[in-house]
């Protein structure tokens, strides 16, 4: 079993956590999220080609115009690979960009007609985002209640605080890196919260177990450190497995799911970090204070004399 003194360096880790949080929240407010067409809406083109084209062919032309994450749908087919009729939704384009796109389409995919050109609103409204956030808040309340029953109030509150920390840091870093997000950000955040919850419970379970069988004279600091070291192998293995799997999705997955895998990747890294270096130290400080306060006055007096 390794013997890292995680809790002894808690001040350092709190500073690190705080700096990351400030950067994340700062990016969110100053830089903002780079919202894609699901949120902002865009322009739909109904294109009628002379020869059938595939979604991949159209996307490669759009990628050349830096609008690769547009929505490309073949019309008249649900699962066919090619069609003459294609529906494309791009972000709002300048006149120059539109002209450049139209020429590129013709030179790569042959002659075509634009049978429809319309401005459309986003498919994803702020009401949907608000409804989603509300659902998550209510779910958090349920998690707190469950953890209060199975653990106690301190585990429950530090656990949920760290879950929110992970979610906020991830969204903030997504704003910092500024890659364009689609409505996939919703499942991404839900995965991060779920992963974070699982990680917190597994590690808190070990602390809970060690608290029950606490060795005589073992300080809270030693106990918390011991718990974290006992679960360290598991923490690393699970994090590495999930991180590698997500990296594979990011590298090999399609253009339209890049935002999903990138956000999850960030979230999992911070989920693993915050269980050990944010949630547990936070829990430690709270319980340590309580233990000191409830220690018999005589012992405190004896300590003071020494």
């Amino acid at each position: 079993m390794p013997h890292f003194d995680f809790i002894g360096h808690r001040r350092t880790w709190f500073i690190v956590s705080l700096v990351v949080l400030v950067i994340a929240v700062g990016s969110l407010f100053l830089r903002g999220l780079n919202l894609g067409i699901d949120f902002t809406g865009g322009i739909t083109y109904n294109l009628q080609f002379q020869k059938p084209v595939s979604a991949a062919e159209v996307r490669s032309v759009l990628q050349g115009q830096h609008i690769g994450n547009s929505v490309i749908q073949l019309v008249g087919t649900e699962s066919g690979q090619t069609s003459r009729s294609v529906l494309v939704e791009t972000p709002a384009l300048t006149e120059h960009a539109r002209y450049s796109l139209q020429t590129a389409l013709q030179s790569h995919l042959g002659k075509y007609q634009i049978t429809g050109l319309n401005k459309v609103t986003g498919t994803f409204s702020s009401e949907l985002v608000q409804a989603g956030i509300l659902a998550v808040l209510i779910a958090s309340l349920a998690i707190v209640l469950y953890m209060m029953i199975r653990f106690d109030l301190r585990f429950a509150l530090t656990g949920i605080a760290a879950i929110f920390y992970d979610a906020i840091v991830t969204i903030g870093l997504v704003a910092l890196i500024h890659f364009q997000i689609s409505q996939n950000i919703v499942p991404a955040v839900l995965i991060i919260i779920g992963y974070s919850l699982n990680d917190r419970i597994i590690i808190f379970d070990r602390i809970r177990e060690n608290m029950r069988l606490r060795k005589r004279g073992e300080s809270l600091l030693e106990l918390t450190n011991r718990s974290l070291n006992q679960t360290l192998a598991r923490s690393i293995i699970t994090a590495v497995v999930v991180i590698l799997a997500m990296a594979a999705l990011l590298i090999f997955g399609g253009t339209t799911t890049h935002d999903l895998s990138a956000a999850i990747l960030i979230g999992v890294v911070f989920g693993a970090y915050s269980s050990i270096l944010f949630a547990s130290p936070l829990w430690y400080i709270w319980v340590d204070r309580a233990e000191r306060a409830s220690a018999p006055a005589s012992r405190r007096a004896a300590k003071a004399e020494r």
Partner: protein, 400 residues
Amino acid sequence: MRGRGILGLILIVVVVAAVYAYFTAVNPVTRFVKEGLDLKGGVHVVLQATHPATHADMLKAETIIAYRANKLGISEPSIQLQGNNQIIVDLAGVKNQQEAIQMIGQTAQLVFKGPQGQIILTGKDLASASASIDQGYGNVVNLQFNAEGTKLFADATQKYLNQSISIWLDKNEIENANVQSVITGGQAFIYGGFPTLTKAQQTADLLNSGALPIPMRIIDAQTVSPTLGQDSIHASAVAILIAMALIILIMLGIYRYAGFIADIALAIYLILVVGALVAFGAVLTLPGIAGIILSAAIAVDANVIIFARIRDELRAGRTLGAAIDHGFKNALRAIMDSNVSTVIAAAVLYYFGTGEVRGFAVTLIIGILASFVTAVGVTRYLLRLSEDTVLVRNQKLFLG
């Protein structure tokens, strides 16, 4: 006892072969699982206002159509305003396309008229509507008027006592009834014109959603390919296979034989999830896949936790059998707490969420249940089976 162990190993090989054959030859995901707009495509419907419409009208119409689509149980429809007077509705997984399209575009104008055809009240005066079966009248739609409607209805039933009031829905007269008493409670029901309870329920849903502020006509309805793009979906499917292969190899590398068993459990987990999706007729979308990915990660984690505990017990000097028993026992509490809290959270998300959030919650609940059965149950069973084999003598080979 050795025979049991060998039997177990044969079982494992058979299961692996069966899973491989099942997913390659039968391809259950594309064949049996219903997929959403983002993965499979659907119907692209363009509705256009038949009269000049303001932006506010269009926004209201969009909200009403979204409400109706939800009521119809269409999973994650996509609804957009196009240009000045059009609404695009993309629908997937609709059993009866024609019916869905019709219902979404319907105006649902409810009008109560007096004996001389004078309008008494309209759908605007309704508070709510519901459907039920009445002993005497068959399928009925119950109406509850709002304060204004209650007053109008009370006045009208007094004024037209012993005369007839007619009820019109979308310009069809569906009922003509004699007023027998003054009704002050603001309640009424309509009958006739509802051959089935479903039809009555649909009418109630339409009335609840309110009438479209402007009449709309369907000007185009076409089948379209997935919004995520056929090309991207293909790439992502390949990526998921690569990720799965990575997980399988890592587990094998770290935990050797036990890792192999965890991989078997993961394969059975996949079959259970796909089976459950088919059985419940759930519609698979990208958020749904996200739920499966999360529960798969939790399933792998459960095995990592269990194996770590068994290693602890072995290090403490227990025999393999005792170590497996104690390891599972110690790991179970953490796994249970994690699974139960996740399922509770997912149930809350399902209840309060819409669209994407619900799609995620459904597969997460299914996935967690399946992962508990496989990562705990199947793994334990197979480990116990192999306890008696030659592997036991080589602990390194057994658990890495």
